[in-house]
């Protein structure tokens, strides 16, 4: 069968080739060349993704089998790629945003040695490869390959500046927390394989009715554990803020736009399983909401520009999970898309600021950057408006859809979600005002050095800003325009099985208008309040107190984990190593040796060299034999 989508394998292979070239020839390549190769392969992938996307849009989907990965009597796992609506959308996001970030990086990382520069691009290409594998895989195993692959790249890129041990610790933490999630994912896959005999999406989804409720709940809960690790949800979210140790474009690509949304992709992909497990859905909604609130509160009090964005990412991911939990799959995927645009924009803008400030990340030392960097300023403002959910920017549409879904499920979800949206508007404009408005508060040297960034940085910013503004227009809700939700229509085939199972609650138009008005109005008030308050911000030395202190210390969650998990494990390990192993098992074994040694030394004393003694023993022995012979043997 020849299908034009057969060329889909080129999409992940191109970044892999880029990785190999940059990785192997990193000593020979000049910076320009490795930058060109690194970005070029992604651009080519993007072009093919566009082609694929339009094919899929015309109704052409494809499942390609390349070769058998594991094929035994009990299980067959093929190296399969599935190209359908959902994956083609993600392909566009990954390669599109990925390309812009590659271009951005050529300028941002320009101060590195050419060897390290090539290394950076090879890692970045490897990441894109893994991410593409993740979304293109035709079964859970291939998805898992990408799943761990992106974790590895995240590890490598967070620890990119490996001289700094704090960065290495952050990288390690990210990898280990991801592995905890991965264990959940793996167990879910084993469960699926044991019950259905396959890991292929289409077969699993076709046989889903054969699974008992217990099985489905177990499987989905474990899958969700995997998602909490990768997508930084409670309880495994603490790695993401630490991951800001990596270069800023990495944060934009991996820790905002793509990798952290893998969990959402996975759940959206398995939507039928989750729809059939209402308990899990409830858990997802609650965890998502709790994460959204928790991260938003922490973001209120952070002073590191990247940390604020990191917590905002965690919070937005919480939103997406809320959407998944209430069954608004399209809304979540929609929010993944818009979030990719505006959060990548914000991170890249923050990178531009950090670049201009010569590596300074503390917002308290910024201020008044508006007049020095006008493009960064304007694009950043657009990003802030988008994330704050101001109409008609993209964030408004996607967030609104999730909130509407939440309201239909349970108004309490909606209320908490809206509260989080207010906080989002507040901390984003706190960030904006402290950075761009008011007076410059840094050192004189820094002020002298301030400049607008070069074109390789500003052009991606401009493109992303445009996307952040118009990106939401593919999903205009029914109330505004009939047939306006083009995305929902596009994704319909993917979510059709779930939609068939649950009847949609349609909110009346008046309710929907009220909901929108409340969320936009509240966010606007929070926004203006923050604008007003923090544009006049002055540095104070007074330490935080009360709830502010708890928030700026991130609810002491890291300390809590340290006390209840890390330290006990270390203590048990030390106990095993020092006591049980050395004194216990080895002591027992050596004890046997010592006992034999001691016994031999005692018995040796009989061999004293006295002839008389030997003879006496001999006689006694013969006597004993006589006695045995005479009395004991019958």
């Amino acid at each position: 069968m020849s299908n034009t989508l057969q060329i889909g394998w080129l999409i992940p292979i191109l970044p892999l080739i880029g990785f190999l070239i940059n990785g192997i020839c990193r000593k020979q390549l000049s910076k320009t060349l490795s930058g060109l190769i690194g970005s070029g392969v992604i651009l080519a992938s993007f072009a093919i993704s566009l082609f694929v996307f339009f094919q899929v849009k015309n109704g052409n989907t494809h499942l390609a089998h390349y070769f058998d990965f594991i094929n035994t009597e009990s299980i067959k796992v093929g190296f399969d790629f599935q190209i359908d609506q959902l994956s083609s959308l993600f392909l566009l996001i990954i390669t599109g945003v990925g390309f812009l970030i590659h271009v951005y990086s050529t300028s941002y990382m320009h101060e590195e040695d050419s060897k390290d520069f090539a290394k950076y691009f090879s890692y970045l290409n490897l990441f894109v490869f893994s991410m593409l594998l993740l979304v293109m895989g035709g079964n859970y195993i291939i998805m898992f390959i990408g799943w761990e692959g992106v974790g590895l790249c995240s590890y490598l890129l967070i620890g990119y500046w490996f001289k700094n041990n704090d960065y290495n610790d952050a990288a390690k933490k990210a990898f280990i927390m991801n592995r905890i999630g991965d264990l959940g994912f793996l167990l879910a896959v084993f469960w699926l394989i044991t019950k259905t005999g396959t890991a292929d999406y289409h077969e699993v989804f076709a046989n889903v009715s054969k699974l008992s409720t217990f099985d489905i709940t177990g499987i989905t809960m474990l899958l969700f554990v995997g998602a909490t690790g990768k997508s930084a949800q409670i309880p495994l979210y603490t790695w993401l803020p630490d991951a800001m140790a990596g270069p800023t474009p990495v944060s934009a690509l991996i820790h905002a736009a793509t990798m952290v949304t893998a969990g959402i992709y996975m759940i959206a992909r398995s939507n039928i399983l989750f729809t059939m497990a209402p308990f899990t859905q409830c858990v997802i909604a609650v965890i998502g909401l709790a994460t959204a609130v928790l991260a938003a509160t922490i973001a209120l009090k952070q002073n590191d520009i990247k940390k604020v964005l990191a917590y905002s990412t965690v919070s937005q991911l919480g939103y997406m999970f809320l959407g998944l939990g209430v069954g608004a799959y399209t809304g979540s995927v929609f929010h993944v898309m818009t979030h990719a645009f505006f959060k990548a924009l914000l991170f890249l803008g923050a990178g531009s600021v950090i670049h201009a400030m010569s590596g300074e990340q503390d917002m308290r030392n910024m201020g008044g950057l508006k007049k020095y960097m006008s493009i960064t300023h304007i694009t950043f403002l657009l990003g802030c408006l988008a994330i704050a959910g101001m109409p008609p920017f993209s964030g408004f549409f996607s967030k609104d859809e999730i909130l509407a879904g939440a309201f239909a499920k349970n108004p309490v979800y909606w209320a908490i979600g809206v509260l989080t949206a207010f906080m989002t508007a507040f901390y984003m404009f706190r960030l904006y005002a402290m950075t761009f408005l008011g007076k410059f508060k840094g050192t004189h040297d820094q002020e002298h050095h301030l400049h607008e960034s070069p074109a390789a940085i500003t052009i991606p910013l401009i493109i992303l800003a445009i996307l952040a503004v118009v990106g939401g227009w593919v999903g205009i809700p029914e109330v505004f325009m009939h047939g306006g939700h083009r995305l929902e229509a596009f994704l319909e085939p993917v979510f059709a099985p779930s939609n068939a199972l649950v009847e949609k609650h349609h909110l009346s138009h008046s309710t929907e208008y009220t909901l929108m008005a409340v969320s936009v109005g509240g966010a606007l008030i929070a926004l203006l309040f923050a604008w007003n308050k923090f544009s006049k911000y002055q540095k104070t030395e007074a330490p935080e107190s009360g709830i502010g202190k708890v928030l700026s210390n991130k609810w002491y969650v890291d300390e809590l984990y340290n006390t209840i998990i890390v330290k006990p494990i270390q203590a048990i390990a030390a106990f095993f190593n020092n006591i049980l192993e050395k004194k216990g098992i080895d002591g027992f074994v050596n004890g046997i040796g010592k006992a034999v040694n001691y016994g031999s030394r005692q018995i040796r004393l009989l061999q004293n060299g006295q002839v008389g003694m030997y003879v006496l023993l001999m006689v006694l022995g013969i006597l004993a034999l006589f006695i045995i012979q005479l009395f004991l043997v019958k």
Partner: protein
């Protein structure tokens, strides 16, 4: 004479030999005691042989002299043993000016 007499005599000789070996320290006396023990056994062999010869002569005339042949073997071995043993004792006397076996524990070092 009943076989019983021979057995008692042999036991007496053997016991004297054992006690002598165990209690005396003079190598030559120990040697003589060993000879006593061997001869006690020889005596028994001959006595039993004679007894069996009477019992089985009619059916199997050659069977009964086995034990007497054994006695010759033992004598030969004993003679060999004495020659080697006495040689050792002579060497021992040359080195230690004593025939006390307890001196032999020096071998240990």
């Amino acid at each position: 004479m009943p076989i019983y007499y021979y057995i008692v005599l042999a036991i007496a000789l053997f016991t004297i030999g054992i006690i002598g070996v165990l209690t005396r320290r003079n190598a030559i006396i120990i040697f003589m005691c060993i000879e006593l023990m061997l001869n006690a056994v020889n005596l028994l062999l001959v006595a039993f042989s004679k007894m069996h010869n009477i019992a089985t002569a009619a059916t199997n005339p050659t069977a009964a002299i086995d034990a007497q042949i054994f006695v010759f073997f033992i004598m030969v071995v004993a003679a060999a043993e004495v020659s080697v043993g006495l040689a050792i004792i002579v060497m021992m006397y040359r080195n230690t000016h004593s025939v006390d076996v307890n001196f032999l524990n020096r071998l240990k070092n």
